[in-house]
C-alpha cells in the first residue's frame, strides 16, 4: 500500500509544533523561548540571542531529570512539574507524553510561576497532538501492523513504592 504521509508535525487543526511553541511564548511576556521534546525529536523557538545554545541537549537534560525522578516516586503519580531557578533564568517544565516541555524565562517570582504553570496547561493537549502527528498518520496508513506493534509492547515492570512506606 502506498500513501502520502506528511512529515510536518501538526495537531488535528493543522497547527505545527513550532507554531504552538510560538503561541506559548506570546502568552506570557516572561517567556524567552520554549523547548519541546518527545524523547526522539526536539523542537524549539529560542530567540537569536540563544542561537549558540544546544536546545536539543537542553530538552534531553529536562527529559532525563523527569526520568531520574521516576526512581523515587515508583507507583506514586508521576512528577509532572519541574522548576529550576538560576541567577539569570527560571526554567518551568512540564512532563508530556514521552517527553517534556520546557519554558526558558527571565527570573520569575512565586506568583508569576503559578500563573505560568496554569497558562502552560492550555497548550499541553494541542502540543501533544501535534508532536504525535506523524505517528497517528502512520497508524492510519499502515493499519493492522501499527496497531499490533502497540499491542505487543511488553507490560511495564511493577514499580516499588517509596514515600508510601512512610505513611504508616
Amino acid at each position: 500500500m502506498s500513501a502520502e504521509v506528511s512529515v510536518e508535525q501538526t495537531d488535528p487543526r493543522g497547527r505545527s509544533v513550532t507554531a504552538i511553541l510560538d503561541k506559548i511564548a506570546r502568552h506570557n511576556s516572561d517567556v524567552l523561548g520554549c523547548i519541546a521534546t518527545d524523547g526522539v525529536e526536539s523542537y524549539n523557538n529560542l530567540p537569536e540571542a540563544y542561537e549558540l545554545v544546544d536546545a536539543e541537549a537542553m530538552g534531553e537534560y529536562v527529559n532525563n531529570m523527569f526520568a531520574v525522578m521516576q526512581e523515587l516516586e515508583a507507583s506514586e503519580p508521576d512528577f509532572e512539574n519541574l522548576v529550576l531557578e538560576y541567577e539569570g533564568h527560571t526554567i518551568v517544565a512540564k512532563r508530556i507524553e514521552g517527553g517534556a516541555l520546557a519554558l526558558i524565562n527571565n527570573p520569575i517570582n512565586r506568583g508569576g510561576l503559578k500563573k505560568m504553570q496554569v497558562g502552560m496547561n492550555l497548550f499541553l493537549n494541542p502540543l501533544a497532538q501535534a508532536m504525535k502527528g506523524p505517528e497517528v498518520a502512520a497508524i492510519r496508513v499502515e493499519g493492522p501492523e501499527a496497531v499490533s506493534a502497540v499491542r505487543d509492547e511488553p507490560a511495564a515492570a511493577p514499580k516499588r513504592r517509596l514515600f508510601g512506606r512512610l505513611r504508616g
Binding site: 540563544y50 545554545v53 544546544d54 541537549a57 537542553m58 537534560y61 529536562v62 532525563n64 531529570m65 531520574v68 525522578m69 526512581e71 523515587l72 516516586e73 506514586e76 503519580p77 508521576d78 512528577f79 509532572e80 512539574n81 519541574l82 522548576v83 529550576l84 531557578e85 538560576y86 541567577e87 539569570g88 533564568h89 526554567i91 526558558i104 517509596l162 514515600f163 512506606r165 512512610l166
Partner: protein
C-alpha cells in the same frame, strides 16, 4: 519517624551555619514535611531523616548535575540555586545552602485533606 544519620551532629555542623541549623530544625516540626536529606556538593549524603534518604541522595545528585549542565548551556556561571518537582501528592525541592544542598520532601496540603476525607 526514626532518625538515621549518615553523619553525626558534630560533623554536620561543619556544613551548616547556625541560621541554617535553626531553619532545618523548624522544617522538622512541620507535619507536612515527610523528610529531608543533606547532600554534599559532590552528591554524597551528609545527613538524612529517614531510611528512604539513601535513595533520594543518588537521585538528586543526578538531578542537580543535569540542572547545572542545563544552566551552563544558558550561560549561567553559578549552580542551580533551587530545584522543585511536584506531583499531585508531593513536592520535592532542593535548595543550595552555604556548603551543602538540602533536599526536602513535602506532602501537599490537598493530599493531606484527601487522606482525612477517606477516613471521615
Amino acid at each position: 519517624m526514626t532518625m538515621t544519620h549518615a553523619s553525626t551532629g558534630a560533623t554536620i555542623g561543619r556544613f551548616l551555619t547556625s541560621q541554617e541549623t535553626v531553619e532545618l530544625a523548624r522544617l522538622q516540626q512541620d507535619n507536612s514535611v515527610v523528610g529531608y536529606s543533606l547532600l554534599g556538593m559532590d552528591g554524597e549524603e551528609l545527613q538524612g531523616s529517614g531510611h528512604w534518604t539513601d535513595m533520594i541522595a543518588p537521585v538528586f545528585a543526578n538531578v542537580a548535575d543535569l540542572a547545572n549542565k542545563l544552566g551552563e548551556e544558558l550561560g549561567e556561571t553559578e549552580a542551580c540555586a533551587r530545584i522543585s518537582f511536584d506531583n499531585r501528592e508531593y513536592q520535592v525541592f532542593s535548595v543550595i545552602l552555604s556548603a551543602c544542598r538540602a533536599v526536602i520532601v513535602k506532602r501537599k496540603q490537598a493530599s493531606v485533606t484527601e487522606g482525612l476525607r477517606s477516613v471521615g
